[in-house]
Structure formats: C-alpha cells, structure tokens
C-alpha cells in the first residue's frame, strides 16, 4: 500500500508541475481578423468609420430586405393598400396587426439592434480619455451626426410605437428590466439630441449623403411639433428654409432631352445628388456595381418593385400576352397600390405639375411585338384587366434606369429621406397649430407654387389639407404611417379613404403593438403592451 501512496503522490506532483508550468500567454486570446472596439475608437478615423456604419444602418430601414412586410409603413394607410390579391397585409387590421406580426418586430429591431447601439457607441466612446481629438469641434461634429441618427430613430419609434424604453448607453451585460418612457419623454430625448446636432453639425455636409445642420433642424421642427412647442418648430424650420436650400424651379439633370419638368427631374437617376438640386436635405445613397453601393442583404432601391404595377401581365383583347417587360418601366410586382384617394381624389388642380404625365403614368400601350394590338392603348374598362394589381397608375418617382436589366425589378437610385418641400409643410403645420392659417397657407403655397398648382386660401387650410398636400408632394417619400400616427389621424383617414382596411381598423390601431418577443425577453419587469393589443 505504501508503494501505491508513493505512486499517487508522484502523479499529483507531475500533474501540478505541468498544470502550473503552462505558460499563460499560450492561452491569451488575440483577435486576428476583427477589430476590437477599444482599439478602433481611438481617433477621428475610427469614429468616422463608426459613423459610416450608422449611415449603412439607416439605409437598411427601407432597403435592408425585400418583400411586402418592408412596406408596412405605407400599406394600410389612407395612401396605400395591397395590390397583389394574395397579400393580406393590413387588409384586416384586427387579425393582421398583432404583436407577433413580422413588420412589428422588424421595425423595432432595426431601431434597437441596428441604429441605437451604433449611435450610443459613438456618443459614449467619444468622451473616453483614451481618444485623441484634434479639437472639441472635431469631436462634436461626429457626435452630432451620431446624435442626429439616434434622434431620428427615437422619433421614428415614438411615432410608430408611442412610448418606448430609452436606451442611452452601451450595454455589455444582459438586462431584462427595461421600462418604457412616455411618448413625450421619447420625443424630448430626441429633442436634446437634435439641439446638440443642430449646434455642431456643419452647414454644408462633407459629402453627399452625410448629415448637415439642415437635417437636424428639419427633424427638430417635427419633434417640436410633437412636443407642442410650435414657436420653436417654426424657428427650426425657418433655419432650414433660410439656409442653403431652395426649391428647384428649373429643369436640371441628365435627362433634359426627355419630356419632364422640374419636379420629375428631382426623381431621375442622379437627380438627388445633382449640384443644381438645392432641395435635398438628406438622401440615402446607392451605387450600381460598387461595393457598399446597396444594402447588404438586398439588391438595390426596391420601390419600383414594390409600388410598380404588373403591367407586364396585361392581356390583349384576345386574352394573349399583350405586354413584355420594358426597360423604361421596370418590373413591378404590385405589392403596394395607391388608393383612389391618392390616385384620383387629391388632385384638385389640373395644372398641378405633380399630376402630369411626367410624374404619374396613367395610360399604358400594348408593347408585345407579337400581339396584333401592339401600340394600342390598353382599355382600362375592359373587365379582364385586374386594375387592383396589373393596371393602376404608376407614380414615376419609382422609375429609374434598369442598370441590372428591366426584369431585375430594382433600381440603383438614391432615395430622399428629407427634402425641403417637407420642411415648408412642417412649418405650415406648426403655423396652423399656432392658429395662424395665413402663414400656414403661405408655406403651403410655396410648395404648390413650384408645382404650378393654384394657391390655397387660408380659410381652407386645416390639418387634413396639410395631409393631402403632403400626399401630393411627398407620396412614397413620406412614410405615411409615421405621419398619421404622429398627428393621430391614422384611424380616421383609413376609415375614410382605404377601402380594404377601413372596415376593420379599430381606434387602438393608431400605434403599433410592442413586439411580443420583446415583452417575453423583458422578464425582470412587465414592459406592458399598448392598449388594445393585449
């Protein structure tokens, strides 16, 4: 037995010897191929690249994925409904808009997984003593861009979901007891970010697509309205209007030899960034065949695909294929179709440029060379045509060069996030809410004047009129659900103008529900569902 004890002792000695003799550095872990946060955010270059990621994130909101759920901010409003009859999106609000609905989660995750952490990282790390800044201005300009993006996101969240948790720092630990702030608190949080951004952002953005002071002031105008501070909203909007921006009134761009007008030139390829275009405040950027030119998981600007009708499915009077996909029209799939309100009811002036053939395509002509009817106008009244899906007017803002082939369905145009015309309409709204319809009408008439539409009299200006004007000017650019939720008019106007959703929409649908998985994950405390959804 003594021998065994000796052996066991020897074993232990051996084990301990080797166990402790291992060099510790063998087990140190050094990342080989990815950047370490602390090592990257040390100087301007590091923060610049973090800001670039924020821009890439912003583009993903609209162009990060594909499919009808991407368009939940348009569908089921007064402006838009489903075209494709196999889509059920918002046709029945009660059964569609649930806490489990995909677009409810998708928009939430865009905000909380993509935008807010990227912004918070910049804002928080910029203050670390390890960072070398050339000047306070250098630091603040980058922080201002991040705070603009954060405010943009919180304003989005408050408009869509109401009161949400305010996450204002970087979390590196599991946390399950977030609480929701009130909607006003969220708007106010955005306000603080925007006031800082307005102070520190440059008047001229360093590059197309980057954020300038005007963008912060434009958004500030909207946020002040939400906070009920109309004077400040007017001030902010005025700073933009008096700034280096001006509505375009002359034709410009690369398509002067084609039919068009100043309004249509704004939406052609290259128009958004054109030097003659003085009304772009912020456009997300796209580029064909350039790395980074489109959002990672998607294939370009998908508005054509989503909003375009399926003209290529039109049959000639014999019931045979009357159309082929044309370069100039692209290949829409008709997920999102305008309502009659949008296509017909709002056009109060026949001279309105925005309703011209250059901007809305209402007539189609058979183009299949094999059809005996080629060249003839397609008869809208022929009942064989599906006017909900195949044959409805095309808003030409979506059209663009088919660089990847007409059937590709997507374009590579830049996309407006903010345009000066909307700043006027925001200021008009603030004037109206301040009970000054004269000033409101003045602003509206600037926008209408550019479109050669007759001016509106102050007596006729009300919130609904502003919403109509926004529709005429900003359709597709404006995320209509956000606007209607913000002003509290979604339910009323859907009932009035959306034939598919009007019967089912309930009062509680004025806000999106909180995603169920977010409620499930917040096990530390009850997050609470929006009224009507639980």
């Amino acid at each position: 037995m003594q021998r065994i004890n000796k052996i066991i002792t020897a074993m232990l000695v051996f084990t301990l010897l080797y166990g402790t003799a291992c060099k510790k550095d063998v087990l140190d872990e050094t990342p080989q191929a990815f950047m370490n946060i602390e090592a990257t955010l040390t100087n301007k270059a590091g923060f610049e690249s973090a800001v670039i990621a924020l821009h890439a994130g912003a583009r993903e909101q609209l162009f990060g994925q594909d499919g009808s759920r991407m368009w939940a901010l348009h569908l089921g409003t007064d402006e838009f409904m489903t075209g494709d009859p196999s889509l059920a999106d918002f046709n029945d609000y009660i059964t569609w808009l649930t806490p489990q609905q995909q677009s409810v989660t998708m928009n939430w995750n865009w905000a909380y997984l993509t935008m807010i952490p990227r912004a918070n990282l910049i804002i928080e790390y910029a203050e670390k003593p390890t960072v070398t800044w050339a000047s306070e201005e250098e630091k603040n300009a980058l922080v201002a861009e991040a705070r603009f993006m954060r405010a943009f996101t919180y304003n989005f969240l408050a408009n869509l979901y109401g009161g949400v948790p305010i996450v204002d720092r970087v979390y590196m630990e599991d946390k399950r007891d977030f609480v929701r702030a009130s909607r006003q608190e969220v708007y106010d949080f955005a306000r603080q970010d925007l006031e800082f951004a307005s102070q520190w952002l440059p008047v001229e953005a360093p590059a197309k697509g980057r954020i300038a002071k005007g963008a912060a002031d434009h958004l500030l105008a909207e946020v002040y309205i939400s906070l009920g501070d109309y004077d400040k909203a007017i001030e902010a909007a005025t700073r933009v209007i008096d700034g280096p921006y001006k509505l375009v009134t002359e034709r410009f761009g690369n398509y002067l030899n084609r039919p068009g007008d100043p309004f249509s030139d704004l939406f052609r390829d290259g128009g958004q960034n054109h030097v003659a275009n003085t009304e772009t405040i912020w456009a997300v950027q796209m580029e064909y065949l350039t790395p980074g030119g489109i959002a990672l998981r998607n294939q370009g600007n998908t508005t054509l695909r989503a909003f375009g009708n399926r003209y290529w499915n039109l049959k000639d009077p014999d019931g045979n294929a009357g159309m082929v996909v044309a370069d100039s029209l692209g290949r829409g799939v008709g997920w999102v179709r305008g309502t009659n309100y949008l296509f017909y009811n709002i056009w109060d002036d026949p001279n309105d440029m925005r309703n011209s053939r250059n901007n809305i395509r209402r007539d189609f002509y058979y183009n299949n060379p094999e059809s005996p009817y080629v060249g003839q106008k397609v008869d809208r009244n022929n009942p064989v045509h599906d006017t909900a899906w195949d044959y409805y007017p095309t808003i030409r803002k979506i059209e663009g060069e088919s660089l990847a082939g007409a059937s590709y369905g997507r374009t590579f145009k830049d996309h407006y996030m903010m345009r000066l015309a909307e700043t006027y309409l925001l200021r008009a709204e603030a004037w109206l809410r301040k009970n000054d319809p004269v000033m409101a009408a003045n602003d509206i008439n600037v926008v209408r004047g550019r479109a050669h539409a007759a001016p509106i009299s102050p007596d006729d200006v009300d919130l609904d009129y502003i919403l109509d004007e926004r529709a005429r000017e900003l359709m597709i650019e404006e995320l209509r659900r956000l606007t209607l939720n913000r002003v509290g008019k979604l339910v009323e106007r859907v009932r009035a103008y959306n034939p598919k959703s009007g019967n089912s929409i309930q009062d509680y649908h004025g806000l999106f529900p909180i995603p169920q998985d977010v409620i499930d994950a917040n096990s530390g405390t009850e997050l609470g569902q929006n009224d009507g959804y639980d």
Binding site: I7, I37, A50, R118, Y171, D174, G292, W312, G319
Partner: protein, 1003 residues
C-alpha cells in the same frame, strides 16, 4: 560524434537478448496452424511463449512457426474475439490448434483512452461497436455503423451523399456548446470531418459514455468519446484484401405536392375564398402566361422528377497488410463515388492510409499512422425549395432548348435546373492527418513506458463558383457574370507526452498513466469575388476579368485557439475482481474569458466482478456478473474562439454618385461579449451491470445514468433593447437521466444453423433545473425564460406555442376578424380571449426512447441479417403544414407556385385539420408533427464461398452480399424523413432507398 546516450546497462541487455535468441542451443522449432471452429484459418493469432516476451503471429493462412525451449514450453494462443488457449508443447514438432470464439464478451480487448484493457477490467461505460455487424452493409462513413447499434448513441444524417451526419450520445446537454462527441483516432484527437475516415480502415470502434471513461479527455469529453482504431499489419504473409460494392438508390418518400388537377382546383378555391372571380371555365385565364402555354400544349411536369438524377453509390477498397520481424504495415486505398437523389448532388472520395510501426530496438518503437483524403463535392445541386414551388404547368425550356430562368412569370420561382445546368463550381477538400509516435519501454524500470505523440493535421478547401454572363431579352433575367474563389485552410497540431507504469504486487495490480500535452488550431479563409465579367470563358479562374472585384464582407477570416492539458490516471485491481479507476485532468483553453481559462475534471469508478466470488459458484446461471459504479466531472468547450470578446464587424457605404467605397465598423449585434465565459461542467454518475447467463446464451449490459450539467454554455437570446440579439453565457442547470439496455442473445445454435440477436434500448429524460435563479414575481418559483423557450422542469428543447384546436366552421362563434376556415387556437386559461398567455409547451424535440434490433440468421455459408431502428416520442415544427408563409413554411396559396398537398378547408369539405386558403396566421403560430418512427434500416444476405472454391483460386476468402437499406419506414411525419427531421423547404432531402451488391475478397 557522440552517440545517443542510452540508459546504463542497456547495451548489456541488448547483447543478452541477441545472445539468447541466436546462440542458445537447447531449442527447437514448432510449426502448425490455427483454425477457428469452422476450420477456417485464423491469421494474426498471437502466440506467446508463456513467461517470456517472445511472441509470434500466424500468417494469412493461419500457419505459424515458433522456437521453444526443448522442455516444458507452454504456448499461449490469443486472438481478439476468441478464447485464449494455453497448450503445453509435447514431443511433436507440429501443433494444430482450434480457437473457440469468445462467447464471452468479457474477454475481448477494448481500447480505452490512452491504453487498452480486457473488458473484464473496464470500470467505465464503454460500448464496443462490432464492425462485423456492418460488414455486409454499404457504409461510406463510419458514423453510419453507429446508427441504432449502440444504446444511448443517436446518429442521423440528412440523406445527402458525402455527409458525415451527426452523433449525439446520451441526449442534448447543451444547446449551444457542440453536441458532437470527441473523436479519438489511433489515440489522438481528430478534429476532421467524419467523412474523411475510410470505414474499411477501422479495426474497432468504442464509445465511451460515462464520466469515468471520458474524464481523461477533460474539457472535450462532455458529449462522450468515440475511439477509433485503424488496422495494423498482422501475419507474416502479406494479406491483400479487396472490397467493393455497388448500389442503386431511389426515393424512399416523395413529399406529396399538387398534381395538375389539384393545382387548378386550388387556384379556383383560393380565388373563391379570396373573393376573386372563380369560374372553372376561365381557369386558363387564371394561369400565368407561361403556365398557359404549357396548359394549352397539354403538358405537365412532376417537380421531383425534374430535380432527380439516377442515384448510385459505389465503393472500391484495397488493402495490403503484414509484418516482418520488426515492422508491421497496413496500406489501403479507397474510392467512393456517391451520386445522390438530387441532380448534381454528388460526392467522390479518395482515401489513402499508411500505418507503419517499427520496432527499432527492444526498448524503442516508432511509428506513423497517416491518412490522406480528397473529397470532391463539386456540382451545383438542384435547389429543393425551387422544386417544392414548381407549378405542374411550369415552362422549363424555351423553344430553342435553353432553360427559362423563371418558369412561371411570378418571380418567386426560379428554374431549379438553371444553376445545376449553367453554373460551374469546384468544391474540393484535401486533408492530411498523421500521428507520429515513439514508444519507449524504459529498461531499468520494468513496467514503465513513455510515449510521445505528435499529430499534425492540415486541410485545404477550395470552393469556387462561376456564374456565366446571361442576357437574353425574353428571359426576364440578367446576370453580369460572377466568379468567386474561397480558399480555406485548417492547420492544427497536438503533442502529448504519456508516461505509464504498471505493476503487480501479489493481489494488487495497478497501472498509472500521466499525460501532458498541448493543442493548437488555426483556421484561415480567403474570399474573393468578381462581378460584371466582360467574358466568362475563364470561369472562376481569373477574377481580373470582372470590373467589380470585392472581398465579400464576412467577418472572422482568421481564428487561432490553443489549449494545454495534463492528466493522471490510476487503475487498481485487487484480487482481479475489485477494480478502481481514479482520473484527473486539467485543461486550459484560450476560448474562455481571461480568468476562466482552466478547468479541472476528476472522476472515480469502482467495479466488482461478483461472479468471481466463491458464493456465486452455486449460482450457475451466471457465467459472469459485474457491477460498475462511476462518478466524475467532464467539461464542454464553446463552439468557437473569441466568444468572450466584443468585436467590430465591417460594412460598406457610398457617399455621392461615382463614390468610392467607405468602410464602416460596428459592434456585432448578434453576440454580446461575455468576458466571464467559462467551462460548462457535467457531473455524471453511472451504474452498470454486465452479465452473461445461461452458458453465455444471453449477455448484456444495463446502465443507469444521471448527469447534471451546470454553467451550461448557452447561446441565449437577450432583450434586443440591449443592442444585441444573443449572448454566450454560462447558465443554469440541466439534468439528464437515462437507462440503457444492451442484450446479445444466441437464440438458436446448431451445427449448421444459428440465430443471434442484438437488442438495444435507451431512454433519456432531460430537464431544466435552473435557469438564472431569478424570481422576479416573488412567487417562490424560479422564473422561466420565455424569450429562449426555457422552462423549469421541462426538457431543454421544447415546442412552446399556441395549440391548434381545429378549424372554425360556418356559424361558430369566433374572435373579431376571424372567418370560417380559420384556425381555432386553444384558450388554455379559459379567459375567453386568445392572448400571449395561451401559449403552452406542446412537446419535446428530442426523442424519449430509442431502440434497435439486429437479427442474424446463419445457415452454413449463408448469413441473413436484418436491422430495425426506431426513435419515439418527439415532435418538431413542420411549417409546410401551414397554409401561409408567416413562419417561413413556404406556402403561398395565392401565387402560381406549388405547395404541400395536405388538403385545406373549403365551405363544403369543412376540414377540421387544415385552414382555408386565405388564413393569415395572426398569431404567427407554427405547425408541429410527431417524428416517431420505426424503420427497417438494413436487410443483408451474404454468402461465403466454400473452401473448395476459394482454394482453387488461391483465395483466403470470397464473399458476396446483397443489402437493402431503408426499405420501409412507419411514421406519421409529413416530411421526407423523420430521422433526419429535415423540415425547411431548402433541405427537403429524402433518404435514399438503396439496394447494394458487394464483394469481399482476400488472398
């Protein structure tokens, strides 16, 4: 030059050995032959002169020749699988011996970690896979030999060629750490693909299941260990073997999609339910324009036929082995060509192995086991989601014979033949794996030996893809061309120093093993891509042809991880019937947080061979009875390195028209860093009884185990409000309890006829005991974690959802917005409303029971065996059962694409199992189905040609076999295969039904 320093006295020893071998006069030579009971020669039988180290081995014809002292020599004949025999040499100089097969499994040798033992002396839970059970079946990967044949081991593959499949031993412990067992190949860690190993090279396989057996592998052992030993040269006459088989495969099941008539009816029913015009006379008008063409032409297509190919498998294997005085060698080459059921789903493999073992001196042996594998998985296989969606009226070809990209103009559906036909790829994998070793028997100390292993592994993957330029006006599709090259390298090495010492002291026998080793793994990947090719003639071979050249934006191109290990083991036997094993291993890994790098894993086991006790002599029913108990800790390591670190990943953006590319960085939102990430620890207790009764007619093992896994390495979803979606953490506790029964019976044994059975049964119960020790609502019960579907007291992997409760019919009261034909969800809490509170656990995802039965019937030279394999009581989502696509089931009833033909509600048929066609799945619920199955896995018939024939052709053996695999399956699972459980439309691979003819030849 200074000679290597040898231990003192070594020279004298060597001299003495040489002297005694060459000069001793009082010796004589005995020759003879060793046969088995059937009078077949036994090659490789070792013959030891008792009391010496002098050993000899029979050649391929069973002959031997040994030199023995003139008087009193006793020869011991031993061979794996046979009872050893001791024979006292008489006057005769020839000796013919018949060895009886070891009816007692207890006498077989099993390989345990860092050594081998007689099964008698094993204290842990070690199952040996009898490779002879599968020798008449066509296996292309060794993992297939595990299917249903070892209690507690679950194997599944996905039905595709060239895939190794997955192995789970004793149930899921950890969802996020890997469930894959550790593979030990010829004594060293093997990190390669299962399919890199040629199953014909395998001599034996052991599965280590309990902590005592596995703890010597420490951190990597939590999921069990499979020890594979490859063949070595045996007889002095070279043995040449040739094995070949050829099999033809067909679909064991085709998922039922809509045929032409049902497809048209679905269009009409959909339109009617969707309030669109629905007139049967206008059906042509409701079709897409391309569908109309096919409809008018009176044609239809069958989707599964479109994507099928003639499936077959062939394998050719040749080996040469033998030994000389000092060297043993085994050389083999194997070629497998496996063509799957799906077009272009092919796998070819070449493996070459060389095992060399050279006894340089009496105290030093060096050797090399090496294998080279080349696997070729080239071929773009037809995408099964596109087959699933293929309309019966799809237009696949233009009139000129070219493929139509979009077979229906609705662009959801892409021609499933397009990529397999037009795209070209190269998918090659080369791997080299070797173990170089030196074994030193330290001469001064008897019983002390030292082994050094060095085993490098290098793999190189080429994955190249070329999409040609495609631009055709009438195609509706354009491709500017793509060339992509992905090169991937894995380089790893380990070294191990192993010291063993064994000693007998009267009633006490013990051996000690000590180990120290290090392990290094490196992974490196390069991706490059080029688009917009002005000429595609060079395919993927020249990326400069394209104008847009990128490195696809994917993170983590280089990974390095290291570990260091030390281990000690003591085996102690008292009176050969009281056995004790103690082990301890300490591992350090770079993959864990700064202060969590090291873990220590001890274990202990005892065994008692009861049948050797005197009081058992009267109980003659027991030939053998042994009781084993073990307890220990093992670890589990995280999936990949760097999980404890925060990381930036890159993205790209442009500013302005004609802009260059800007690179952005952001924290990887998928994983929250976890600086405290540490080991997952499993504490396991095992109780086993090994028995043989009724004159060894029935033998078997019954085991009960309990494992407690704490600090589980889990990928948990975190609240997205933190800015992250997931995090790796150490969390909670999961218990597994199970029982495993293995029975080997000899049912009938006569001179000509025998019938034997092998039966295995395993039941496993898995339960979450703790999650976070959190009780937010202060109800005294620990909180469940809804976001991860973890519930205290439930299995780790459950289906938690709303419960399907039939279909609302006309006139039923139903929630606002609902319509007849919509799914009724069970109101679990009976509050009259359906809310998130009505979700319940519907069932578990892992099987509760598994069993397998192999019956083998032999009559003369004919052997028939059949093998039934089953798993029971588990369920999984199968969302193709849904009518819509919210959960990704792939059903678009309103679009011109196909889907699962499982019926649907209409106002007339009033289905109560499936909803109507316009149901929108408001609650985003999933559909589930039971995966229980019983399968007739293999039926084999083999014929051994009689000696009269083999001898005429100078063969040692000749066998022909025919095998039928996967001949019948009894299941309610709606997918293509319940065992693989494939349940998404991109992986609907059927498991082939294969009939194989095979040949084994030796000479």
């Amino acid at each position: 030059m200074k000679l290597p320093v040898f231990p003192k006295g070594f020279g004298a020893l060597l001299f003495f050995v040489l002297l005694s071998a060459g000069l001793c006069a009082q010796q004589r030579t005995i020759t003879g032959r060793v046969n088995d009971e059937n009078n077949m020669p036994l090659p490789g039988v070792s013959i030891t002169l008792k009391g010496t180290n002098q050993t000899s081995i029979t050649d391929t014809s069973g002959y031997f020749s040994v030199t023995v002292p003139s008087t009193g020599a006793v020869l011991v004949f031993s061979y794996v699988g046979y009872q050893p025999q001791e024979i006292t040499v008489g006057e005769s100089s020839t000796l013919n011996v018949t060895l009886l097969s070891a009816s007692s499994k207890m006498d077989e040798v099993v390989v345990v970690g860092y050594g081998s033992q007689s099964r008698r002396n094993v204290t842990g839970s070690v199952a040996k896979i009898d490779m002879s059970q599968t020798e008449n079946t066509p296996i292309a990967s060794f993992t297939q030999a595990l299917r249903g044949r070892v209690a507690g081991v679950q194997f599944a593959d996905n039905g595709r060629p060239g895939q190794g499949g997955s192995i789970i031993i004793r149930g899921d412990r950890s969802l996020s750490g890997s469930d894959a067992p550790l593979i030990i190949l010829d004594g060293v860690f093997f990190y390669g693909e299962y399919s890199d190993i040629n199953p014909n090279d395998i001599e034996s396989m052991q599965v280590l299941k309990d902590a005592s057996a596995t703890a010597i592998y420490g951190t990597r052992a939590a999921n069990g260990v499979i020890i594979i030993t490859t063949k070595k040269g045996a007889g002095t006459k070279p043995t040449i073997r040739f094995n070949a088989f050829y099999g033809a495969s067909g679909w064991s099941k085709k998922m039922n999609l809509y045929g032409p008539e049902a497809y048209l009816q679905r269009i009409l029913d959909y339109r009617r339910q969707n309030n669109q015009p629905s007139n049967p006379d206008s059906i042509r008008f409701y079709l897409q324009t391309t569908e109309q063409e096919i409809y008018d032409a009176g044609q239809t297509v069958d989707p599964w036929d479109v994507v099928s190919q003639d499936a077959s498998i062939q394998s050719y294997d040749m080996s040469v082995s033998g030994r000389t005085d000092r060297t043993s060698y085994f050389l083999s080459a194997n070629y497998v060509n496996d063509k799957g059921l799906i077009l272009n789903d092919n796998a070819k493999r070449i493996t070459v192995r060389m095992n060399l073992d050279n006894k340089i001196t009496n105290w030093l042996t060096i050797g090399l086991n090496s294998q080279f594998t080349r696997r070729d998985l080239s071929g773009i296989r037809a995408p099964l989601d596109m087959a699933y969606w293929l309309s019966p009226y799809a237009k696949l070809y233009f009139d000129d014979g070219e493929l139509v990209p979009y077979p229906v103009v609705d662009n959801l559906e892409f021609n499933p033949l397009f990529a397999p036909t037009y795209y070209k790829n190269k998918a090659l994998n080369y791997s080299i794996f070797g173990t170089a070793y030196a074994l030193v028997s330290i001469p001064q100390i008897k019983g002390l030996s030292y082994r050094f292993n060095y085993n490098p592994r290098f793999t190189w993957d080429q994955n190249y893809l070329a999409q040609p330029v495609y631009d055709r006006a009438d195609a509706g599709y354009q491709n500017t061309g793509l060339a992509r090259r992905v090169n991937q390298q894995n380089a790893s090495w380990q070294y191990e120093n192993i010291l063993t010492y064994s000693k007998s002291l009267g009633d006490h026998d013990f051996d000690v093993t000590l180990l120290y080793g290090q392990d290094h793994q490196e992974f490196d990947i390069t991706r490059a891509e080029s688009r917009n090719l002005f000429n595609d003639a060079l395919g993927y071979n020249n990326l400069n042809i394209g104008t847009t050249q990128t490195t696809p934006n994917e993170p983590e191109d280089v990974e390095i991880s290291n570990s260091v290990s030390s281990m000690a083991r003591l085996n102690y036997r008292f009176r050969n019937r009281y056995l004790l094993t103690l082990t301890a291993r300490r591992d350090g890994s770079s993959r864990f947080g700064v202060d969590k790098k090291y873990g220590t894993f001890p274990s202990a086991a005892v065994a008692w061979i009861i049948s050797d006790e005197a009081f058992m002599d009267k109980l003659t029913v027991f030939n053998m009875l042994k009781l084993r108990l073990s307890y220990g800790k093992v670890g589990n390591i995280a999936g990949g390195p760097y999980q404890s670190l925060g990381r930036f990943i890159t993205t790209q953006y442009v500013f302005g028209d004609g802009s260059p590319t800007y690179t952005g960085v952001y924290p990887d939102q998928s994983y929250m860093p976890q600086p405290n990430l540490g080991w997952e620890t499993t504490t396991a207790a095992n109780a086993g009884i090994d028995f043989e009764i009724l004159k060894n007619r029935i033998g078997g093992t019954i085991e009960y185990y309990y494992t407690k896994t704490t600090d589980m390495l889990q990928r948990q979803s975190v609240s997205t409000l933190t800015g992250f979606s997931n995090q790796y953490i150490n969390i909670g506790q999961v218990d597994n309890r199970g029982i495993e029964i293995t029975l080997n019976t000899v049912n009938i044994k006569t001179k000509q006829f025998s019938w034997t059975s092998n039966i295995i049964f395993a039941a496993n119960k898995n339960k979450i005991v703790h999650i976070k020790h959190q009780d937010t609502d202060k109800d005294g019960v620990e909180d469940d974690d809804l976001s991860n579907n973890w519930f205290i007291g439930s299995p780790i992997s459950v289906n938690f959802d709303y419960e399907f409760d039939g279909i609302y019919q006309e006139g039923d009261p139903m929630p606002a917005g609902y319509k007849p034909g919509w799914v009724r969800v069970k109101d679990q809490n009976k509050d009259g409303r359906i809310t998130a509170e009505d979700r319940v656990i519907l069932g578990q995802r892992d099987p509760k029971y598994r069993w397998g039965i192999t019956n083998t019937l032999s009559y003369g030279n004919i052997t028939l065996s059949f093998f039934i394999n089953a798993m029971q009581d588990f369920m999984a989502p199968f969302n193709m059962l849904s009518i819509e696509n919210a959960r990704g089931g792939g059903s678009f009833p309103g679009r011109p694409v196909n889907m699962l033909n499982a019926g649907y509600w209409t106002p007339e048929n009033r289905s109560n199992t499936r909803p109507g066609l316009t149901w929108t799945n408001p609650l985003n619920m999933q559909f589930y189905a039971k995966r229980d199955f019983v399968r007739l896995q293999d039926v084999s018939l083999a014929y051994d040609f009689p000696k009269s024939i083999t001898e005429r052709y100078k063969l040692t053996n000749l066998r022909l076999f025919v095998n039928g695999r996967n001949l019948a399956t009894w299941t309610d699972w709606p997918g293509p295969d319940p065992e693989s459980g494939n349940n998404t439309i991109t992986n609907l691979y059927p498991t082939p039904r294969t009939v194989t003819l095979g040949l084994n030849l030796g000479f």
